[in-house]
């Protein structure tokens, strides 16, 4: 069982990271970003190309990959999202779907559909109490934790508060001097970096394919929901819970229904706590 929990935590931390990226964009721009995972997929492939093709060291390639992730997100935000942000939500959602299609198509055109292996310095494993733990697993979980703590601190800063303000109302904060440009750019840049981390971790622990994004995206959304969309801690815990729940469901009930069971669990959680596990209660409206 511990073995299942450990690998559940590993997958869960990828879900968590994706959920954090989603929540970040949502908190600032109020956009459910269907392209979030692809924004990490492309830089992850670039990183692979740098390591495998250009023979760069992992330690050099990954920072470059992160920069590419940031740049890509910023460009997408500026060119595709911001011009239509004033319109209704449906337009922005559809735009993120379009961006998803475009990036995925580019990845397929450039790299094809074959799975790729990212060579990371964290190969190998050790044994504790009869359980085999891969270093890769520790790296994933630690990275998730670090990003979560970083974001919690970030949201306490004035810029973090401005982000939440803009998410709620796109006009009033501007009257107070909040720059939407800065807020949007920062949040997308951060989210792009986080998504890149998620895809890289997943890619190097398993394999990198052009399909990795879509699977992770759904899990990220589910994790964010489970945790209560507005909460950073919630998104993180939601991801871990989802990963572990899936694996345990696979172990004890049936591997063919593990996602179904995890989803059922979510429906149940939401029926009891409509704001997710960590969601704040709706404030008065009347």
């Amino acid at each position: 069982m511990w073995q299942q929990i450990i690998s559940g935590l590993q997958a869960g931390s990828w879900y968590s990271l994706m959920a954090l990226a989603i929540v970040l964009v949502l908190k600032a721009t109020d956009v459910p970003n269907f392209a979030m995972a692809e924004l990490g997929l492309f830089p992850a492939f670039c990183t692979w190309a740098l390591i495998d093709g250009a023979q760069l060291s992992w330690w050099v390639a990954v920072p470059i990959g992160l920069l590419i992730g940031i740049a890509l997100s910023v460009v997408v935000e500026r060119t595709a999202i911001r011009p239509i942000l004033a319109e209704n939500h449906f337009a922005t959602v559809l735009m993120t779907i379009a961006v998803f299609v475009v990036i995925n198509a580019v990845v397929q055109l450039v790299w094809g559909s074959e799975p790729r292996k990212i060579d990371s310095p964290f190969a190998g494993s050790f044994t504790v109490a009869g359980q085999i733990v891969a270093y890769e697993q520790l790296v994933s979980i630690a990275a998730g934790l670090a990003v979560m703590v970083g974001l919690i601190l970030f949201f306490r800063t004035p810029l973090g508060v401005q982000m939440q303000a803009i998410a709620e109302d796109r006009v009033t904060p501007r009257l107070l001097g909040v720059s939407v440009t800065t807020v949007f750019r920062t949040s997308w840049a951060l989210a792009g970096a986080i998504a890149t981390i998620a895809l890289l971790l997943q890619g190097q622990a398993s394999l990198l394919t052009d399909q990795n994004g879509s699977g992770l995206l759904i899990k990220g959304f589910v994790a964010a929901t489970l945790g209560g969309f507005s909460s950073i801690t919630g998104a993180f815990v939601g991801g871990l819970a989802l990963g572990v729940a899936e694996n345990l469901a696979g172990a004890y009930i049936s591997t063919s229904s593990k996602t179904a069971i995890a989803l059922l669990a979510i429906v149940v959680v939401l029926s009891i706590k409509p704001q997710g596990l960590f969601g704040r209660h709706q404030v008065r409206e009347v």
Partner: protein, 235 residues
């Protein structure tokens, strides 16, 4: 002139609302903007703060022509706007709302804390609620928060859209007193859209807007004498 509006036209989508508004606010002046519903008062403020585009005409603030500057750029120049409907960010706490107001001028944390303290002396009802989500405040409390939030940024001109909206008489008196005091202490100018007659007690001058253009203007005490005007526009 701190704010000077010339021949301003603007509107929503394709629908024109302002048809050439001329209006001035001098440094340290309190100006009242009156008019029936739909006269275009809120629209004027929105065009000045940049929420609505200027179709034609000019708006200049402290000698700078505002043109197509963004609302946040205008706010940084020292132009405050408490919008109609208050614009309280209900998911943030009362304190976060308040401090957000300090964004515009980028002032030091100590200054902001001092100002916060001073404002809380006036808006005492907010003190207990600083940590609460702003959405849980009563209507009047939200109004106080909106005004306080604009003032904490120490703007040079504050435009307030219906400050007395939903406030108990005692608070209206207090707030108008505060406006007069702030002007006296720090030379802040005010452009007040009001329905409440007491506004003419503290205003230097007043404009009456009608059908998207200025209908009458003059010193506030003179307009206050006009029985008809007060009956028509003020409660």
């Amino acid at each position: 002139m701190l704010l000077s509006i010339r021949e301003l036209t603007s509107g929503y989508g394709r629908i024109p609302v302002l048809r050439g508004v001329d209006l001035d606010v001098a440094e340290g002046e309190i100006v009242a903007l009156l008019g029936v519903n739909g006269a275009g008062k809120s629209t004027t403020l929105r065009a000045v703060s940049g929420v609505l585009p200027t179709w034609s005409g000019t708006v200049s603030f402290d000698g700078t022509t505002l043109g197509r500057r963004t609302p946040e750029a205008r706010a940084r120049l020292g132009l405050g706007h408490v919008p109609e409907g208050r614009g309280i960010l209900s998911s943030l706490t009362v304190r976060q709302n308040l401090r957000l107001g300090a964004t515009a001028r980028g002032r030091g944390a100590r200054d902001v804390a001092q100002d916060e303290e001073r404002l809380l002396e006036v808006f005492d009802a907010l003190r207990d609620k600083l940590g609460a989500p702003a959405g849980s405040l009563s209507g009047g409390q939200q109004q106080m928060l909106a005004v306080a939030r604009a003032l904490i940024g120490r703007p040079r001109l504050v435009m307030v859209d219906e400050m007395s909206f939903g406030l108990a008489p005692i608070l209206v008196t207090q707030l108008l007193g505060l406006v007069a005091r702030l002007r006296a202490e720090s030379g802040t100018a005010f452009l007040l859209v009001e329905q409440h007659s007491a506004v003419l007690d503290i205003a230097d001058r007043a404009y009456v807007l009608s059908g998207g253009a200025v209908h009458t203007s003059g010193p506030a005490h003179e307009l206050a004498q006009s029985e008809n005007l007060v009956r028509a526009y003020l409660g």
